[in-house]
Symmetry: C2
Subunit: 484 residues, 2 copies
C-alpha cells in the first residue's frame, strides 16, 4: 500500500552551465535527453510515480523555466497544474525546500517529502522505490534522511557522509539506516581516497526524505532568519502578494544549501546507504558513466564521421562533425556553438559560459530553437536588418494577436494549414502559399488543422528586438506579464 | 627590361581535400584566404606581375572550377579573358603543363614558361622575381629549371633535389644554377634527416621554368604516348572539337606528374636554390608556418572563446567555438561541418573527405555558400519539402529567365532593389516587400540598382533539385551547357 502522506519535491532550477552548449541558461540539463527516450526531468517524475500519484509531485523552479517545464511535463498536465512552485530567482536549495515544506504543511501536516534534483540519472527505479520505503519509515519517526551512494572513485567535487554504525536505526531487506557521524563537503584528493578505501563513507546524493514539519523545525533552530523570511514569503503568496513584495524579499534571502544550512548542523540527520546506480551527470566527462559507449569507449550522438578516436564524447546536433584520432576528448557541436576540450577540463565549461554572459552573447542564454506554449521557433539566420525563422505551431494553437512598429513579416507556409489574421482580413494559407504583414498591421497566426503548421518567417526592418511587439489578445494570459 | 618571351602558367586544378571543411571539391585551397587579404590564387597571379603583364598569365584548370576562378580573378578579367585553359578533368601535372606548352608554342615559339601551383605561399615577391630572372636565363639556354627550397625539417612528404655542384651553370647575385644530380621522391625519415643535415639537398618547390619547346621535346623523348595524345587534343581544340572527342581522350591519358614523367628522366634538368620563404601549406598543421600565431602559438580566426590552449589551429567561420586547454590540435568549424583532430593527424582529413564522398554527402563537394556569375547564394536550411536560401545579386546582374515544374518560390527583399519578372508581369520590389512565384511560372530576378540586392528565397514543393529548371534566356551562355 502506498504511503498516503508521501509527496515528491523536485528541485528544478538548474543553471545549465555544465552541459553548455547543449544546455543553456533557459534550457538547463534537466531538459536534456542524456540517456533514454525521456528527458531527465521526465525520468525524475516517472521515478516518483512508483511511490505516489502524480498529483502529489511538486516542482520548485523559477518563472524563467516554467514554460519549458510545463511543456516537458505535458503528459501529466492535469495532475501537475497546481503543483509548480515558482521562485522569483534561485537562492540555492534551502529556500526552495523550505518553501515547499511550508506549502506541503498546509496541505497535509503529516506530509513526508522526498526531495530530489530534477537532473540526476538513476538506473534502477525499483531499488529507488525500496529506498524510499525505508526512508519514509525513518522520516515518519522524525529523522532527516539522506540517501548515501557507495563511492566508485575518489571524487573531490561531492560531499561525503559517514554513518555512525553504532546507531542502527532500522533495517528492511538489504537496506539499513544510521545516524550520521559526519558530513564532509568536497574533501581533498588525499582524504577522498582514504574515504573510498575505508568503505564507510558515502557520497551525498542530494536526495532527502523528511517530514515537512521536521525540516522546518530544524531550519528554525539552525537558521532562524531564513525560516522567518520564508514564512513571510509563504504568507504573502497565500494572500496573493498584491504589492509584489516577494521578489524583493527573495533577493535578500541567504543563498544557502540545505546540506550546509540544516543537515550538517542537525542532530536528527540519518543516512541510508542505497544500492541503485546513481549519477548526477555533473559534466560532459561523466557521460560515459551513464551513456552507451561504443567498442572504443566513445559516447557518440548524431552525424559523427570518426577515424580512430577513443574514450571521447562526440556529439553532433545537426551538422557533420569529423573527428580523427582523439582520445579522452569532448566535442559538442550545436546549431550556434561548438565546444572542444579534453575530458579532464570539462568542468571549466562554466568559465566559458561566464565569459559569454559577460559578452552578452545570446549563446549562453538560449538555443536557436525556443519552445513556446503554442509550439516553437528556430532562428535560421539573423543579421542587420533581417531575421529568418522557422516557426512550428501545434494543431489547435495560435499566437497572440499582435503588431510591430518597426518590422514587416513575411510568412511562407511549408507544411500544414495556417489561419492568418492580417488587419481586417482573415484567410487561410496552405503549403506553398505566402503573405506579407506590413509594419503597424495587427496580425495573428493560428493552426486550425490537425497536423503541425510550419512556416518560414522573414522579418525585415531597422529594429528586430522581441520587445517591438504590441499584444492585443493572448491565449496564455501574457498580455501584460510574459514574453511571446 | 622585362623578358618579352616570358609567360606564366598557373596550375589551378586542386582537389580541395586537405583543407576540408574550409576547402571543398568545388572550392579548393587556392580560393582560401590563408594569409593576407587576397586568396592564394590571387596572390599567385600578383606574384607573376612583377615579371610579365597580366595578359601573359595562363591558368590551367577544369570546367568545374572555371566560374570560381573567373570570379576570383575579376580584377584582371580583361587581360585574362582568353587565358583559361580548361581540362575536362585533372590528370596530374604532366598533361596540364604539356597542353599549356602546346598552347604557348603557337603564340610564341620562343616562349619561356614559369609554371607554378595556384595554392602556395611565397612571402618575398622580390626574391621570387630575382629567381625568375636567373631561371629565364637558364631556360632560354634550354635547361628545364626547378626552384629548390632550403629544407627546414626532415619532411617526408616532399621530393628532394640534389644539385651537382661541379656543374655550375650560372650565377647572378647570390643565386646560382646547377645541373641536377638526382631527384628523390618522398624519402624515408632517416634519409630525409640525412638530406637536411648534408646541406646539399633541396625541396622540390613544384615551380618550374623552361622553354615550351624544350619541355615538349623532353616529353616526346621520355613519354612519347602522352606527347602524341596531347598533340592530338591540342589539334582537336584548335579545330573546335565539334564531336566532343577531347573528354574521351582525356580520360585515357596517363595520370602522371611532370616530375616523374619528365624531370627525373631528363638530362637537361637544372636547379636553382632560391632564398624566398616558401610553403605549400599542405595541411591544417602547416598553417603556423605561414599564419600569425598568438603568444601561445595558436593560429586563431573568428569567434573563438579559448581558455589556455596552445599551439593549436582554431578556426570559427560564423558560430562560437569554445576551446579549453587544447594543445597541438586543429579545430575548424564551418557552416555545415566541423573538423577536430590532433595536428599530427591533419593529413588524414583526406580519408574523411573520401568517406563523405562515398556517402554522397554534399559537405565534401561544396559550401553552403555558392558563388555564381550573378552573385552568390547561401542555403540557410534544407529539409523535406522546403529549402531556404539567402541570395545576393551583384548590381546590374540578373539570373536567367526560368521556370520550375515542381516548386513555388517566395522572395522577400531584405536589402537593395529587385526587378522581378513573374509570368507576364514585371515590377520592382524594395526592402520589406515580397512576392510568390507559383510552379510553372516563368520568372527572373534582376538587380537594377547600384548596391547589392539581397533576398530570402523560400522554396516549397515535393522536389527541390537544382535540375528542376527550364531556362529561357541566360546572360552567361548557359542555356544549354552549364548550371545556373
Amino acid at each position: 500500500m502506498k504511503n498516503p502522506h508521501l509527496y515528491g519535491v523536485i528541485l528544478a532550477g538548474g543553471s545549465g552551465t555544465r552541459f553548455w552548449p547543449l544546455s543553456r541558461e533557459k534550457f538547463p540539463k534537466q531538459f536534456l535527453r542524456i540517456i533514454g527516450e525521456e528527458t531527465l526531468i521526465q525520468q525524475t517524475v516517472r521515478r516518483l510515480l512508483g511511490a505516489m500519484p502524480a498529483n502529489r509531485v511538486f516542482i520548485v523552479t523559477n518563472e524563467q523555466q516554467a514554460d519549458s517545464i510545463e511543456l516537458q511535463l505535458i503528459d501529466w498536465k492535469d495532475e501537475l497544474k497546481e503543483n509548480l512552485i515558482l521562485e522569483p530567482e534561485g537562492r540555492n536549495t534551502a529556500p526552495a525546500i523550505g518553501l515547499a515544506a511550508f506549502h506541503l504543511m498546509e496541505k497535509d501536516p503529516e506530509a513526508v517529502m522526498v526531495v530530489l534534483p530534477a537532473d540526476q540519472v538513476i538506473k534502477q527505479p525499483v531499488k529507488f522505490q525500496q529506498a524510499v520505503k525505508v526512508g519514509a519509515q525513518l522520516a515518519t519517526e522524525g529523522h532527516l534522511v539522506t540517501f548515501g551512494i557507495q563511492p566508485t572513485r575518489p571524487e573531490t567535487g561531492y560531499g561525503y557522509i559517514q554513518p555512525d554504525r553504532r546507531t542502527h536505526l532500522c533495517s528492511k531487506g538489504t537496506l539499513s539506516g544510521y545516524r550520521v557521524a559526519q558530513f564532509v563537503e568536497k574533501p581533498s584528493l588525499q582524504k577522498a581516497k582514504r574515504y573510498v578505501r575505508s568503505g564507510n563513507f558515502y557520497w551525498n546524493s542530494g536526495i532527502f526524505m523528511w517530514k515537512a514539519s521536521a525540516v522546518l523545525e530544524e531550519l528554525s533552530k539552525h537558521n532562524a532568519g531564513l525560516f522567518r523570511s520564508l514564512k513571510r514569503i509563504h504568507a504573502l503568496w497565500q494572500s496573493g502578494d498584491s504589492k509584489g513584495r516577494v521578489p524583493k524579499l527573495y533577493k535578500q534571502l541567504e543563498s544557502v544549501s540545505i546540506d550546509h544550512g540544516v543537515m550538517e548542523r542537525s542532530s536528527r540527520a540519518a543516512v541510508i546507504p542505497v544500492h541503485f546506480e546513481w549519477s548526477d551527470v555533473g559534466s560532459w566527462s561523466s557521460l560515459p558513466e551513464v551513456g552507451d559507449c561504443d567498442d572504443d569507449g566513445n559516447v557518440r550522438y548524431g552525424n559523427i564521421v570518426d577515424l580512430g578516436s577513443t574514450n571521447s564524447v562526440l556529439y553532433a546536433d545537426q551538422r557533420i562533425v569529423a573527428t580523427i584520432g582523439l582520445s579522452d576528448m569532448v566535442v559538442v557541436d550545436t546549431a550556434d556553438a561548438t565546444l572542444v576540450c579534453p575530458k579532464s577540463q570539462a568542468q571549466n565549461v562554466k568559465a566559458i559560459v561566464k565569459e559569454l554572459k559577460q559578452r552578452q552573447a545570446p549563446e549562453h542564454l538560449e538555443h536557436r530553437t525556443v519552445h513556446r506554449h503554442w509550439g516553437s521557433y528556430t532562428v535560421l539566420e539573423e543579421a542587420r536588418g533581417y531575421k529568418v525563422k522557422r516557426i512550428t505551431v501545434t494543431p489547435g494553437k495560435r499566437l497572440s494577436l499582435q503588431l510591430h512598429h518597426q518590422r514587416s513579416e513575411h510568412w511562407v507556409v511549408i507544411r500544414g494549414q495556417a489561419r492568418v489574421t492580417r488587419g481586417e482580413q482573415e484567410f487561410e494559407l496552405h503549403a506553398g502559399e505566402s503573405t506579407g504583414i506590413p509594419p503597424e498591421t495587427p496580425h495573428r497566426l493560428a493552426n486550425p488543422g490537425t497536423t503541425p503548421l510550419e512556416i518560414i518567417e522573414t522579418q525585415n526592418g531597422p529594429y528586430l528586438g522581441e520587445d517591438d511587439i504590441v499584444r492585443f489578445q493572448d491565449d496564455f494570459g501574457r498580455v501584460k506579464k510574459r514574453k511571446a
